[in-house]
Amino acid sequence: MTSTTTTPRSATGSVALRGVTKVYGQGEHAVLALDGVSLDVAPGEFVCLVGASGCGKSTLLNLVAGLDRASGGRIELGEGVNPGLMFQEPALFPWLTVEANVEVPLKLRGLPRAERRAKVADLLRTVHLAEFGRKRPHELSGGMRQRVALARTLALDTPVLLMDEPFGALDAMTRDILHDELERIWSERRLSVLFVTHNVREAARLADRIILLSSRPGRIIWSTRVDVPRPRRIDSPEIATIAAEVTDRLRTEVGRHGQ
């Protein structure tokens, strides 16, 4: 392997949801988690889903990742695309070293050993962990573990990244740095990202487009483009303005459940 970036991908990176519905349980106890959600993520677009508790954000990502089945509607991905999914917890395998964790998806794809090695080294360089390959996850800090998880997800070589509050458990400084890192990797690799968060500033910092979901059931109630040029700073006035507007809408939505 000589190249450090994958070749740009075109239409394969798109995600389309058409009237996606998810019901948990049956009969009287049935809970409608998602109600007719339709949205598109264009190739290379960064979309943040924002909502209060119970808006079915995680359900939505599970459906797109194919870990759960929708009750109604359609989810369209590019031909042969398996989206990568990241969680709030790094979900690394504690019995494997950092290198071996990143290698798992490569092994499962049946790549030969030499190619796997080169790719692992390349991915660890991408997340600035080249010297930490032999460590075990418990020897790293929370932010470093989440970067290993990112490298492992990137090893899927997929154009679509689904992220479920991946930086929710990190301190503010580490989170800011990881925002920069994610933005760099996203633009280098032309990824399409669907990023779930309840942190409105984070959404404004990262997104091309913010989509607001209502709670119980989850429906799309509002969306906005974030036309602030990159690189951005989370503490800039433009981001604060957008975050304030999203927060107001979110509070209105939460207040609706108070009566």
């Binding site: 798992v104 499962l108 600035h128 418990h138 470093m144 997800t153 740095i177």
Partner: protein, 294 residues
């Protein structure tokens, strides 16, 4: 901010390595290996010395005649002769072979049974509590039936050893599979592990600590069952350790009897220590050892 004049990527590169260095600093290793080994060893040696001293005191009080309860010196002298005799090594060979074959069979049965019960709901409802019930059954209580079925034979011993150890192994597997963190399973599936691959890459390694605990307990049961069996099922042509223990009692050879008991204890301890070391190695890899290294 002055740092805005730097390009974005140089800034974050420096920040990242700085933060990583700060966060991984101060995680140095504890005391040396020799020191840790010694701090684990000396309390054991002290306890052993106390036990031997207590034994000697009881002998000095004249509570029992010396032919029934010999002192430590007599017993250790006999143990010395016993250790260089062919009787011990032939006996150990017979007993060791039975233990290995019986335990291996119990592990095979336990792994298959445990996996089946853990995965199939009907089997769990049918067999789950039965496996635990079997575990509580004292294995010596199986011997009358085993002797009826197989007479005084190797098969009778094998039968009871497997019945004694397999439920523990099966329970270890069931617990291990039950407590695999669902998040790791979801991550594994997302990374492309389905079906058998999910077992190989996620479920089996995640369940390993519980499985090793089950193996360790299974070994303890197998060893007890085997000793009980060798005392009851004496096959004249094969002088196993258990059979020698029975002979020693019949011939009133108290020092030899106690020397054999020490051998049985040491063998059990050595195998237990091997399982303990495996368990510790796994926990060290997982990063779940406590501060004291236990």
């Amino acid at each position: 901010m002055a740092s805005d004049t730097l390009t974005g990527s140089t800034r974050t590169d420096a920040e990242i390595s700085g933060l990583d260095a700060l966060e991984t600093a101060g995680r140095q290793r504890g005391p040396s290996r020799v020191r840790r080994a010694w701090s684990a060893l000396w309390p054991k040696l002290a306890a052993l010395a106390l036990a031997i001293a207590f034994w000697q005191v009881v002998v000095w009080t004249g509570w029992k005649d010396p032919w029934a309860l010999p002192g430590p010196a007599t017993v250790f002298a006999d143990l010395g002769h016993y250790l260089v005799s062919s009787a011990l090594w032939d006996g150990l060979a017979t007993t060791g072979r039975r233990a290995a074959v019986g335990f291996a069979a119990a592990v095979a049965v336990g792994l298959v049974l445990g996996l089946a019960v853990a995965r199939v709901a009907v089997l769990r409802a049918a067999l789950g509590s039965m496996i635990t019930a079997l575990q509580t059954m004292p294995s010596i209580a199986w011997f009358p039936l085993a002797i009826l079925l197989f007479q005084l034979s190797e098969q009778a011993i094998f039968f009871v050893v497997v019945l004694g150890a397999a439920p523990s192994v099966a329970n270890g597997v069931i617990h291990g599979v039950d407590y695999v963190p669902p998040l790791l399973v979801r991550a594994g599936r997302n990374l492309g592990a389905r079906g058998l691959h999910l077992y190989r890459y996620v479920i089996a390694p995640a369940a390993l600590p519980a499985i090793v605990a089950g193996l360790k307990q299974g070994w303890a049961f197998a060893w007890r069952s085997l000793m009980a069996g060798e005392l009851l099922v004496v096959i004249a042509t094969r002088t196993s350790i258990g059979a020698q223990l029975t002979y020693a009692r019949e011939l009133n050879e108290a020092p030899r009897l106690m020397a054999i008991m020490i051998v049985i204890l040491v063998v059990g301890l050595l195998v237990d220590a091997a399982f303990g070391a495996a368990d510790k190695a796994i926990r060290r890899r997982w990063g779940v050892l406590d501060q004291a290294g236990n």
